[in-house]
């Protein structure tokens, strides 16, 4: 008779990351395992709670069901001699363990075939022999040394049944039985049969299904509650019960952000708000199973009161010294080894702010730069570092700073992580740009290097933040200029000796590499490579070019242009002479025509095209196409007259230098080859 089977592996509390991985990967892996071992069943389930992994399959046949295999034996001519079975045939049958055989034609000849049924083992044996080794080999995201073995966490019990009999199973010397364990402090749970397993553990307050636990919490908390906190609770409980407790209303003086950080992030409880969004002096917490609710609430109340009392104390202390008077404090804080104090950083930001090409009120911008790091010295930020910037805004507002300045004090940290938005105000954007440029310049000035595995100062993140802000709002920032200024500030403010040229070169290399990777995650890699052909390309301009090239990629004009560009590059060996073309040496009409077309197109200034109408620029470049084609058809570059030859190379160089102002066209890849 077909019965259900269940294997429950009891563990010490799993880390939430491992649980998430299991939820994602294990159902499929388990299904594949059943299939691999030809275990015929109806449905399969996998559950995980903090203390158990449960593998369940319903209506499992008692034996494996392996499809019989047809095996080819000797040719009929060998199998029979004088219509009698030969030793060859008998040997084959013996090997296959078969009594019967049939003759079939294969490749035009008669052969002996017999049908072999591989042994179908009992389900008990399959589990006993194959389950543990399979589970041990599962690539858990985290493993620990559990003394005699490595596993995700120590295994403490196994309950496994097929129908109503125990499935014998050993995992790291823990043997299976028909006993499951319930919540801590409650007695062990005898399981009568696999079919009764789920209902029985449920009666003992074990909710196996994670999504059910999430729902159980969700129905009792406000719809505004962040799902992440609900999930965290569902991943550390087996029977979540939501309850409520409170704290003294006086503690609501503490800024909302600090209260939320403490209650939601540190204690994974839920804050409560009234209709206006104001916090209430109460909160919800989750209990694991039925407990003495009064006791538990009292515990939570004590913890939260203690934390908020602390925060209130910090908040009051911090206000005794306004942000603007904290220069002494940040003078004692080092920004980075070798790069002086936080106060020096502030001073550099102020000088950079003065020079920033932008229309915001420069006095306010300077004020924001001046105040930008002051909150780092407050008790609140030292206690809750995640509130840096936020406390700057809050304290700034209380102390009568301009509202634009206050906002910028918070937003300039955005985006701190990939998922974060960029600042929504110019003041914050500019401060964010300057802060990042200063950090990057300083780190490179003292020889910090970033490798694929080591980036202790988070320089990649700083650079990506810079790109995101500039893509959102380009300003008219010359990045080479900005980084040079930043280095100059270190020389002036910190008396740091900087080998400006070398450092700028390294910075430029890092900048282009990061920008390449950043843009390639969104755009065609070849177009990104083409657009970033020069150092310090502004991210916004690079993006515009890439988008335009994407649109143009089917235009034959572009392909012609790319071919010309590559041809010129090959002839000149990529060394583009800067000597002007001598008109009097132009001999052939085709080269005259090309020269005139180029002169007409390109202004004298050979600066990279960073702005202006890119479409017009590109069209103008296309307009040279017929002249270049003509030139190559009728003019011999490598002629005998060295003067004329050099002049032609100068003409071609001028053309590619003109094209390079847009991008390196040789990098663009066309399908079907260039």
């Amino acid at each position: 008779m077909n019965r259900d089977f269940v294997i429950e592996i009891g563990l010490e509390e799993l880390p939430s990351a491992a649980m998430k991985q299991l939820l994602e990967e294990m159902p499929k892996a388990f299904c594949a395992w059943l299939q691999e071992h030809s275990i015929v069943h109806d449905e399969s389930f996998f559950f995980v709670t903090p203390r158990r992994m449960v593998f369940y399959a319903s209506k499992v046949e008692p034996h494996q069901k392996i499809v019989p295999q047809k095996t080819k034996g000797p040719p009929a001519s060998v199998a029979f001699k004088n219509q009698k079975e030969t030793p060859a045939l008998l040997g084959f049958l013996k090997k296959c363990g078969a009594d019967t055989y049939e003759t079939e034609t294969w490749n035009g000849q008669d052969y002996i075939f017999c049908t072999v049924q591989p042994p179908c083992k009992k389900i008990e044996d399959v589990v006993k022999n194959h389950f543990s080794s399979w589970l041990q080999a599962f690539p858990f995201s985290s493993q620990m040394n559990c003394h005699s073995y490595n596993f995700v966490r120590p295994v403490r019990w196994i309950c496994s049944l097929y129908g109503d009999s125990i499935l014998p199973l050993t995992l790291f010397s823990v043997k299976s039985s028909s006993l499951s364990l319930g919540l801590r402090g409650f007695p062990a749970i005898p399981i009568q049969s696999a079919e009764e397993y789920c209902a029985t553990v449920r009666e003992h307050n074990i909710m196996l299904d994670t999504s059910e636990r999430i729902e159980a919490i969700q129905t009792h908390v406000s719809t505004k509650t962040p799902l992440s906190i609900i999930e965290k609770n569902a991943l550390c409980t087996e029977w979540p019960i939501v309850s409520k407790a409170g704290f003294s209303g006086g503690l609501l003086e503490v800024p909302k952000e600090a209260i939320k950080t403490m209650i939601e992030d540190h204690l994974i409880c839920f804050t409560l708000q009234d209709e206006t969004g104001a916090l209430l002096p109460s909160f919800q917490f989750v209990m694991n199973g039925p407990r003495n609710e009064k006791n538990v609430a009292m515990g939570y109340e004590k913890v939260i009161a203690a934390k908020l009392e602390d925060a209130k104390f910090f908040y009051e202390q911090d206000q005794k010294v306004p942000l603007k008077d904290r220069s002494d404090h940040i003078q004692r804080m080092i920004f980075m080894k070798g790069l002086g104090t936080v106060l020096q950083k502030t001073n550099r930001l102020i000088s950079l702010a003065r020079q920033f090409p932008c229309e915001v009120d420069v006095h306010l911008l300077e004020r924001a730069a001046f105040l930008s790091k002051m909150d780092l010295s407050t008790h609140m930020v030292q206690e809750l570092p995640e509130l840096q910037g936020t406390m700057g805004r809050i304290y700034g507002s209380l102390q009568g700073e301009d509202q634009c300045v206050c906002n910028a004090l918070e937003t300039y940290y955005f985006p701190a992580r990939e998922a974060d938005p960029v600042p929504n105000d110019d003041m914050g954007r500019i401060l964010g740009i300057l802060d990042r440029i200063d950090t990057l310049a300083g780190a490179f000035a003292i020889g910090t290097s970033v490798t694929s595995s080591a980036d202790p100062l988070g320089l990649r993140r700083q650079m990506n933040g810079l790109f995101r802000i500039l893509l959102d709002r380009p300003f008219s920032l010359d990045l080479h200029e900005a980084f040079s200024q930043a280095l100059l500030c270190y020389q002036q403010e910190n008396s740091l000796e900087v080998q400006t040229d070398t450092v700028l070169q390294k910075l430029a290399k890092f900048y282009t590499l990061r920008l390449t990777l950043f843009l390639q995650s969104i755009h065609r890699y070849d177009l990104v490579n083409a657009a970033l052909c020069l150092p310090w390309i502004h991210p916004f301009s690079a993006k515009e070019k890439i988008v335009l090239l994407e649109k143009e990629s089917l235009n034959p004009e572009l392909k012609t242009l790319c071919e010309s560009f590559t041809r010129i590059r090959n002839i000149t060996k990529g060394e583009y002479s800067c000597t002007p073309v001598q008109e009097e040496l132009l001999a052939e009409p085709q080269e005259m025509a090309l020269y005139e077309a180029l002169e007409k197109n390109s202004s004298d200034e050979y600066a990279p095209i960073e702005s202006g109408d890119l479409v017009i620029q590109l069209k103008k470049m296309y307009s040279l196409n017929p002249f270049i084609v003509d030139f190559f058809d009728f003019v011999l570059v490598n002629c005998e007259d060295i003067g004329i030859k050099d002049n032609r190379l100068r003409l071609l160089s001028a053309i590619n230098r003109y094209f390079l102002r847009f991008c390196d066209f040789s990098k663009i890849v066309f399908q079907g080859g260039n």
Binding site: E12, E13, P15, S16, P50, S142, M144, N145, C146, H147, R153, P154, R156, R184, G185, F186, C236, T237, L267, C269, F285, M287, N288, G289, R291, N292, N295, V296, A297, M298, G299, Y300, K302, V303, I304, A305, A306, E309, D310, F313, H329, R332, M333, I334, F335, M336, K337, G338, T341
Partner: protein, 288 residues
């Protein structure tokens, strides 16, 4: 468990019954029970080991002039070390809570993932902070590495925060109101010390002198290791660690300077760990 004394006694009795040797605290300024040589060295040595002790633990940055009801310059940890870890270690721990007045059924006891690392000691482990009704009362760790050395036999470390547990048991909102015994409160014995230590660590400590003191201790420690004097050498690592903590509290260190000082303490701790592993010759057994 109406007094702190009785709480300590109960925990010591409980773990003594489980085979632990009850040791005195290490007689130096120490930041956490883990740093005591009674943990640091004996988890690195081969023989099985079971011990418990109360370790006064100094955290200069936490000094609050005796004004904060929850945070102090010096608190007390009950440290339990078991090597190898028994299979029923979580149950043993839960039973210890019952023994001091927290029956599991009445309270919500949760093991919340919290992998512990002590960079100064080159040590890390896998484990949990144990929440009792939302309150973090214990750090429960399987050591995986100490002094940069992978442990063949991981030890389990259970660290109880005694003041916190007592506040809950005695239903006090300030640790200064705790009863040490029937007659003496925490504030009677410790408040003055807290005020002065905080004042010292946050304001009066002289960074310049402390910096040279750190260097002297570091060099003395190096000298010890050159002469294979592991125990004195490690004690200088502890001294450096404490001086570093004061420098940190007085605000004399930047992020990167911190890293540099920590690196020097760690290098001494690593030397001690390597040396103890290299020179151990068995001995010591409190198991059988």
């Amino acid at each position: 468990m109406d007094t702190l004394c009785r709480l300590i006694q109960a925990l010591q009795n409980y773990w003594e019954e489980q085979g632990c040797v009850v040791l005195p605290a290490w007689d130096m300024e120490i930041g956490a029970g883990t740093m005591s040589p009674y943990t640091f060295f004996y988890v690195l040595k081969d023989p099985p080991y079971k011990a418990c002790y109360v370790q006064p633990s100094r955290r200069p940055v936490d000094g609050r002039y005796g004004e904060n009801p929850n945070r102090v310059y010096k608190h007390h940890q009950m440290q339990v070390i078991l090597k190898p870890s028994p299979d029923n270690i979580q149950d043993l721990y839960i039973d210890s809570l019952a023994a001091i007045g927290f029956p599991t059924k009445e309270h919500d006891i949760r093991f919340i993932e919290d992998n512990w690392a002590a960079p100064t000691l080159g040590a890390w482990g896998v484990g949990w902070e144990v929440w009792l009704d939302g309150m973090e009362i214990t750090q429960f760790t399987y050591f995986q590495q100490v002094g940069g050395i992978e442990l063949a036999v991981p030890a389990v470390e259970i660290t109880y925060g005694l003041e916190r547990i007592s506040m809950y048991l005695q239903d006090k909102n300030s640790l200064y109101d705790l009863q040490f015994n029937e007659n003496l409160q925490y504030q009677d014995l410790r408040k003055e010390e807290e005020v002065q230590q905080s004042l010292y660590c946050h304001e009066k400590a002289d960074p310049k002198r402390l910096t040279s003191l750190f260097t002297l201790c570091f060099e003395e420690g190096e000298m010890c290791f050159q002469n294979q004097l592991i125990w004195p050498g490690y004690e200088y690592a502890l001294k450096c660690s404490h001086i570093f903590n004061i420098l940190d509290a007085v605000g004399a260190l930047s992020v990167s300077e911190r890293a540099q000082y920590l690196g020097r303490v760690r290098s001494l701790a690593r030397k001690a760990a390597n040396a103890i592993v290299a020179t151990q010759e068995g001995g010591l057994s409190n198991e059988s």
